[in-house]
Amino acid sequence: MRRRTSLAAVGAVLALALAACGGTGGSSGSSGGNGTFNAGINSVVNPSTKAGGTLRFANAGDWDNVDPADTYYGYSWDFIRFYGRALTMFKPGAGSASQQLVPDLATNLGEHSADFKTWTYHLKPGIKYEDGTPVRAKDVKYDVERTLDKATFPNGPTYFNDFLDLQGYTSPYKDKSPDKLGLKAIETPDDNTVVFHLKKPFSGFDYFAMLPATIPVPPAKDTGANYKTHVMSTGPYKFENYTPGKSMALVRNTNWDPATDPNRKALPDRIEVQLGINADDLDNRLIAGSLDIDVVGTGVQAAAAAKIQSNPNLKKNADTAPTTRLNYVQISSSVPPFDNVHCRRAIEYATDKQAMQTANGGPLSGGDIATHLMPPTIVGSKAINPYPSGPSNNGDLAKAKQELQACGKPNGFSTVISARTERTKEINAALALQQGLAKIGIKAEIKKFPQGDYFKLYAGKPDYVKKNGLGLIMMSWGADWTEGFGFLSQIVDSRVIRDAGNTNLGVEDPEVDKLIDKATTTADTTARGAIWAQIDAKVMDDAYMVPFLDVKQLLYRPPNLKNVYISQGLNGYYDYAQLGVK
């Protein structure tokens, strides 16, 4: 009886599985189309100028915030351009053209003083909010003031906090001046002019001007932390509704004047975002055609990746988008024997990068093997390979042993690898690293930490790292924008190191700091890029980091989606502002 029951159970499961197989075979509702694999990387797929329809986004989670003062997600900086205009923005277009900044609210890029400490922008005339009131220069200033208030808006980047000459200013909500515009670091001599005063020179300020922090907010409409429920639009779309965790809908903003805005196509009539959608189901819906795009844009889940890989009909609608994210291993110079550069170099040579790439999903959904810090899409990135790891990137064990010899540890040593518990790929990469190192006698123990506290309590806390001997720290870092400063400053500048919460996990080199200062006072983009490449080479030479993967994300674009391309300026996301569905 029991046996027969089990047989019946097995039968039922088989029936289900068969039904599923039969199902996926027959489902190709949206897998047709004329696209080709990776067509979206350097060209516009399904070009269109036809307006109308509803663009359907979905998000497996939710925004950190939709308030321009409080958001740090890459996809959010892309999406926010539907309803907000900053001083500058990345140029629309496929491929590397999109790395160029163009004015948005401003008439031109910033005018700087000779010392790069004063930056002036002029606003285009005739730009209005959704309610028809004109946008004024002080509204730009007001939103920058808001972003300074980290108690109310904790999520956004801190570039303005770090660079503006604040003179003690903390928040418009503590501002005693009647118009709440008491910040001295920003001047608004008239309604169309904004002047920023920095406390230290910075030649790349146009990138700061691209941040959502410069999207104007009318002080009269500001409701603080509540403002997110209805952000006053300056872009082509305005909020119809937004229920955090559930859904968002945007409709056309009739007060947006396309004449002032050559950079947004604004094709759909309506934009909907479903929030909190099961990630695997989201992929299925994209493939089935009942959704247009995954707003988070970090690539499909493993199940869908496998389907895309095996089905040419799906693969032709997919792109492996290059990003500015690098996966690397930080070598802690504070943990012996890594205080010796030769021991660090031994790790550089012994690392089995090929296995670590496989652990991340392989070339299709993982990325390319990295040999230096700056990913290739960063302006000025120079391909170097100071530690060649053999023909198939499995490690150069002979060189590694030589370095061990030079370090005085010919038989290897013991150390600890730290990784984040929740990140399966990271754990698997750590295992691959562990196995590679074992070949030259280095015994590495893997310790796992919760990702929420990884930087705050463990790997980003120098005391902890030293005390617990975290010699090798698994790390993943993405640039805020495709320029050397946006990528390198937070991971190699020794002056950003604090007691805890660090992302520079131990690169302390006065020469590097000096080069950073040189870069931030160089106006010419190309010259600046060359300096960042120099820093890259210097850090590599000192072997503080083992880069192993330039992350790519496997994105799916349903064939009914029009005007699709990957913007390198936007870190490898599709350029949402240009999408259409007709």
Partner: protein, 337 residues
């Protein structure tokens, strides 16, 4: 009966207090015991490049720097009399029951909970009806036809139902019925009952059935076992000896006794589900309490976690209470002792 109810209510309140204290402790005491400072806790709620000043300000805004007892007291006070919150330009009053504001996105917790309750109730309620009807019917038929093909097949399906995880059957059902057969096109999206009852039901059919499949399997096995046991009872023999038709014997005598323990479990299951059908909501993207709970835990959002835990505990306690009362109504032996 009144005494019994009052005693149970007091016990329920005490339980809720303990649950809230334990949740508090897990959030604050455990990290402290492992050596984290209040600033470390606060740093969870600031962006990735925030400086110490920002961390400190968030620490003050969230009240993390205050003694634990004071924080707990403020939480309780908020529920009873409401509380004021700093929103930047103005202070906002949050009336009772104020479960505080989310640490992460600063929205009040209580309206969110209210907003999500109907979702979970719709899911749990609909599924409950299905699984109770199918589970009990299958169990009874299986028991009466013990050893027959019907019994073996239905128990086989039940075994599969118990063993298969919801995120598997759920995604499978979506792939087959929504994407391939184009039935229930809105499955995976929640539309309120009051918004459009037809869409509400059609969108919920798959989650209902998926959840009910798992539960019906459990109930079929439970009912079958109970029925087999009951059919062997002396009073069933008596009922037959009296000359009652078999149908009356089964329905009036056997089923009633079998359903009593089933009802107990049903009540508790329903209470637990209303507290959050975590997997089903996650699989079908339903913005209910279960998904809310998981999201809140993942983002370390204490006020939300507390809120959802309290609501969940409330429903479980309530379900237990209702079951106890119902039990007394059904079984006279319980009533009088």
């Amino acid at each position: 009966m009144v005494n019994f109810l009052i005693r149970r209510l007091i016990a329920a309140i005490v339980l809720l207090i303990i649950v809230s204290m334990v949740t508090f402790a897990i959030f604050f005491l455990v990290p402290r015991l492992t050596g984290a400072s209040t600033a470390d806790l606060a740093s969870r709620y600031v962006g990735k490049t925030a400086g110490p000043q920002a961390v400190h300000e968030v620490e003050i805004r969230l009240g993390l720097n205050r003694p634990l007892a004071v924080q707990y007291w403020n939480f309780v006070k908020g529920i009873i009399v409401g509380s004021h919150y700093n929103f930047g330009p103005s202070k906002v009053y949050c009336g009772p029951p104020c479960f505080g504001y989310s640490f992460v996105n600063q929205t009040p917790v209580w309206p969110d909970l209210l907003d999500r309750m109907p979702v979970t109730m719709s899911l749990a309620g609909g599924a409950a009806v299905i699984w109770l009807v199918f589970g009990v019917t299958t169990g009874v038929v299986s028991a009466l036809k013990r050893g027959s093909a019907v019994d073996r097949v239905s128990m086989g399906i039940a075994l599969a139902g118990v063993s298969l995880p919801i995120f598997f059957t759920g995604l499978l059902s979506l792939a087959i019925f929504r994407d391939n057969l184009k039935l229930f096109p809105g499955a995976g999206t929640y539309i309120g009952l009051t918004q459009n009852p037809v869409t509400w039901a059609s969108n919920l059919v798959l989650p209902w059935v998926t959840l009910a499949f798992l539960q019906a399997a459990l109930y079929a096995r439970l009912t079958r076992a109970g029925m087999l046991e009951t059919m062997g009872e002396d009073y069933i023999r008596t009922a037959r000896a009296k000359g009652l038709p078999e149908r009356t014997v089964i329905v009036r005598h056997a089923l009633r006794a079998t359903l009593t323990p089933v009802l107990t479990i049903f009540g508790i299951d329903l209470g637990t589900l209303v507290g959050g059908a975590v997997l089903t909501e996650g699989t079908f993207s339903l913005p209910g309490l279960g998904k809310f709970a998981i999201d809140s835990i993942n983002s370390n959002d204490l006020p939300r976690v507390l809120g959802v835990v309290m609501v969940g505990a409330f429903f479980i306690v309530l379900a237990n209470l209702v079951v106890d009362v119902l039990y007394a109504v059904i079984d006279p032996r319980v009533r009088l002792s």
